[in-house]
Assembly symmetry: C2
């Protein structure tokens, strides 16, 4: 198992012991999304470790169902067919998946491939008339993200980004507290996102496929977190890059970047993105009336946290289960999640990533 | 009571309930300083709130004794005389304290006045042939600090800076762990130092007297902390200043500064200094083998913390009691504290503060 998977999985185990929490009542308690309505029939594109995780999580969904696969590996397709009862007619490869347009059994495709492939694949899905769910980061820069938004609009399909934290109960509770003014004027957000990445030959360390290093993969959690925690959009960024292992982290693959963001209210964020440190995955926010700290803050396992009012006690639910049911509600009921998960939301993060890379390279404060 | 005092005091109360810990055995358990030897006879210059705290803490000292005062307020002198049994001949004001050179009852003067006065007062003490203990920051810039170091050398007296954390048992234990390699290669330090300052008319918000705002007063804890936690000297700094209240925080008085430091090993530090946020006072460090988090990390009350090995359990002892006994051991026994508290140590912090102010002003990475 890769170090990355171990990191994100390490405290997921307990969720398995809580099957009763997945009742419809509990399932939507946090996100208040309706559990009534059509089922979203989904094909997963990319049957790697995260695709597998999503497929497993979808088995507990009430509103979303795994019905198809797109993969370049026939043996994987066979395995998934047998495991999830997927009919032959819903199986595609990367050459022929445009034919999905004629398949009424598939409503949406969840693109879970390397970042550098997202844009072209998502646009092909859109052109096939299917809703696009794209894993974060949506592409490798804001330009790509905007092309995806435009293509989905033109094709009249939804584009949703895999921001699973926007459905996570403790995260949702904290965002509600902030909206209700429980923290007073929010002033500071700190996000530390990172882990020590293993296998140097994985696609995440290949610029062509990943578009960048830690920032694209894990730093984006601190960027997106700063925005949903503070409830503002940054107006400037500064960044400092450190590379201790240029053999492993080649040109264009960031190892460690510290970055700061300034917000219109005067609030500031101080963040760390790294592929070379452990014991991170921490959010902290302080305001004039209170604080919140979360650690882990974005891992797959139970989020833990406390505020000035006490511990966050919302029960853990598998993030991807909530996300996929939530996305069905967005697509079929027009439900608005507490923080958007649409393409425009994705582009906002990509613009910030572009600015961080520029700031790290030039040493300049980059205005947004 | 000022907000500042409340902040630093808020969890000190428990220490009062632990008088038995102040046995000589426990007292030096952490710092391993000898408890045998001459008593350091100290005059305190500046009878404000922190001077009062030091005087109270010294009542539990084994190796240091409060014997004199220097103040511009006769009523304060009277009060201290009666409270601490200080003879008339050991009382001075700011005009006549050079005469202390003829007073064999006083070995050292602890300068606890506004920062902008430290340099001249410390040099006068040195010229009077007495050891100088100067509260941090030692002056308002590195130039002043160096002048103080030079003057004390020329006068053949010791110059020690009030770095109480260098004697604090949990802090000392963490530094030992780092030296023993328990954290592996240290990679990242995060320091968050700040509180919401009260009275806008206090000297700490007067550039002439303070030399700066939050950085001089509280940000210095993150600077010094980064150095003693990581065990390296920074080679570059970057900084971003934010001012939301220019009425209260006038020209030259920093409200909020985020700053980053890079170290020769590739380790990085990400810090926050502020007079406009609460719920801070946090240190975090991660290395290849483990981590430590401390919160509070530098307040007067019990430091709390944990590492990958578990909670830090060293008993709380009043920092200033340990500091003053420890300084007696340094002066009379030549004991080396785990991290220096001498003038050169102070100058290192002042050079970094100078560089942070420059980086914040110019936006440039400033090399050290």
């Amino acid at each position: 198992m890769s170090t990355r998977r171990k990191f994100l999985e390490k405290i997921t185990a307990t969720s398995v012991a809580l099957p009763l929490l997945y009742s419809p009542v509990n399932l939507f308690a946090a996100s208040e999304e309706p559990c009534e309505g059509p089922v979203l029939k989904v094909a997963i594109m990319g049957l790697g470790s995260y695709g597998t995780r999503v497929a497993e999580a979808m088995q507990a969904c009430k509103r979303a169902k795994l019905v198809g696969v797109i993969s370049g590996t026939p043996s994987k397709i066979k395995k998934w067919q047998s495991k999830y009862g997927i009919p032959e007619k819903n199986c595609y490869n990367y050459e022929n998946f445009d034919a999905i347009k004629d398949n009424a059994d598939i409503d949406a495709v969840y693109v879970i491939t390397p970042n550098g492939l997202h844009k072209d694949q998502s646009i092909r899905v859109a052109k096939a008339g299917k809703h696009v769910i794209c894993e974060k980061p949506m592409g490798v820069n804001a330009q790509e993200g905007q092309e995806m938004v435009d293509a989905c609009k033109a094709a009249n399909v939804k584009l949703l980004i895999g921001y699973r934290m926007h459905f996570e109960p403790k995260t949702v509770a904290v965002i509600k507290m902030r909206k209700e003014g429980k923290f007073g004027d929010v002033k500071f957000f700190q996000g530390q996102s990172g882990f020590t990445i293993g296998d140097p030959n994985q696609w995440r360390l290949d610029k062509e496929l990943s578009g960048g290093g830690a920032m694209m993969d894990i730093g984006i959690y601190s960027i997106n977190g700063a925005r949903y925690m503070l409830g503002e959009e940054p107006i400037w960024v500064t960044a400092q890059e450190t590379k201790t292992n240029p053999e492993k982290f080649k040109e264009g693959i960031d190892e460690t970047i510290q970055f700061q963001m300034g917000f219109p209210s005067g609030a500031v964020a101080n963040c760390l993105s790294t592929y070379n440190m452990n014991h991170l995955d921490r959010f902290f926010m302080t305001g004039s009336k209170g604080f919140v700290e979360m650690k882990p803050s974005t891992g797959y396992g139970p989020i833990e946290g406390k505020t000035h009012e006490g511990p966050l006690t919302q029960p853990h639910m598998t993030h991807q289960t909530l996300q996929m049911d939530g996305m069905a509600a967005i697509i079929y009921n027009g439900t608005a999640p507490i923080v958007p998960v649409d393409g425009e939301e994705g582009v906002k993060d990509m613009k910030i990533i572009d600015a961080i890379f520029k700031a790290a390279k030039t040493g300049d404060k980059v205005m947004l």
